[in-house]
Symmetry: C2
DNA sequence: ACCTGAACACCGTTCAAGT
DNA sequence: ACCTGAACACCGTTCAAGT
């Protein structure tokens, strides 16, 4: 934290950061438990540089997946303007699940992003889900007591599921259970 | 695997195994990420011995928690004979959650126990839950398409929740969502 | 201001040597 | 048959020295 607040970082630092992120995206997609050292080497930087930019593995994961998380956040309002609340919620879940399953790193990153630390401000993903839930509640389709963190936790179990057709069915089934559990008066 | 099948192990081996388990239970309860080496040292055995008895951390975790898992398995039929199916299910969930939250090691062990490996036989915990679900289905209170693995995965997200009164409320709320999602015709 | 890479403490795993 | 403990390969993290 020796950098003066609000100033542009030195150009080599900026480039190093970008290069680490690019390389990390590739290596982590291939092997989610790739070591930080292997990433540093592939990016052509020392371990110290790695550490300066991302203090710890989780920080790197969050940064790597920030793009996807932002896309997910935006998607919420897009879906809301095109579908009725409950359908928008279901579709958003599908996106969330697909993202979380894109790699175990994603799950860790999302988990870190979802944990609303005491005092800290709401992460954007939580805020996006809040939008969907609020619309659902106003349409009296979603239980009033449902909170965004509840739902994130519930859905997060779905990206633990493996691949294969059997698990695809399982996920669909479980998603139905979850949504029906969140509704007010399920007209099955 | 050099031991002749079905023969009593040598007494020192038996005692070592028991001692490792006892020590591991204590150390892991205190710190769930306690190293295998520290456990071996505390148990007064070499690392090799540790490895001979429990090839890998997960194997140790499973063994450590086997007692609790068995208790949980037995509890299912006890609850079934005393309560109506849906209530028995809810009470069993409470036990499952309490157990899973008894330590992060428990979650890992339960996760390993729940994963029905292809071809392998059903773990006892899954079989116990099956009993509960079957009773619920016969009483037409539980959706017919619900599978035990679905439910385990769903409930497992609950033992990620932290401590504190706020999280206690959250857990209760989420458990209600889950159960209502599993019912056939929820009379709320 | 930022980067490098040796150094440190630690981990899981293996295996030759013992009893 | 089983145990021991040194040895190996690897990890995340730190920090003095450079530019």
């Amino acid at each position: 934290m020796t950098q003066p607040a609000g100033r542009t970082p030195r150009s080599d630092a900026r480039e190093n950061r970008a290069r680490i992120l690019t390389v990390a995206r590739v290596l982590l997609a291939d092997d989610p438990s790739a070591s930080l050292l292997s990433i540093a080497r592939a990016a052509g930087v020392g371990q110290g540089t790695m550490y300066r930019h991302f203090p710890g593995r989780e920080a790197l994961l969050v940064a790597v997946h920030q793009g996807e998380v932002n896309a997910l956040t935006d998607k919420a309002s897009v879906l809301l303007s095109a579908y009725e609340p409950l359908e928008a919620l279901r579709l958003w879940f599908e996106h969330l699940i697909a993202y979380g399953r894109s790699g175990p790193g994603a799950a860790a990153a999302a988990g870190a992003a979802a944990h609303t630390g005491a005092g800290r401000e709401r992460p954007p993903a939580v805020a996006a889900l809040d939008l969907l839930l609020k619309a659902g509640k106003e349409a009296r389709q979603v239980r009033p007591e449902v909170e965004a963190e509840d739902v994130l936790l519930l859905v997060s179990c779905l990206w633990q599921a493996q691949d294969g057709p059997a698990w695809r069915e399982r996920r669909q089934r479980m998603l139905t259970f979850i949504i029906d559990g969140l509704r007010t008066a399920p007209p099955r």
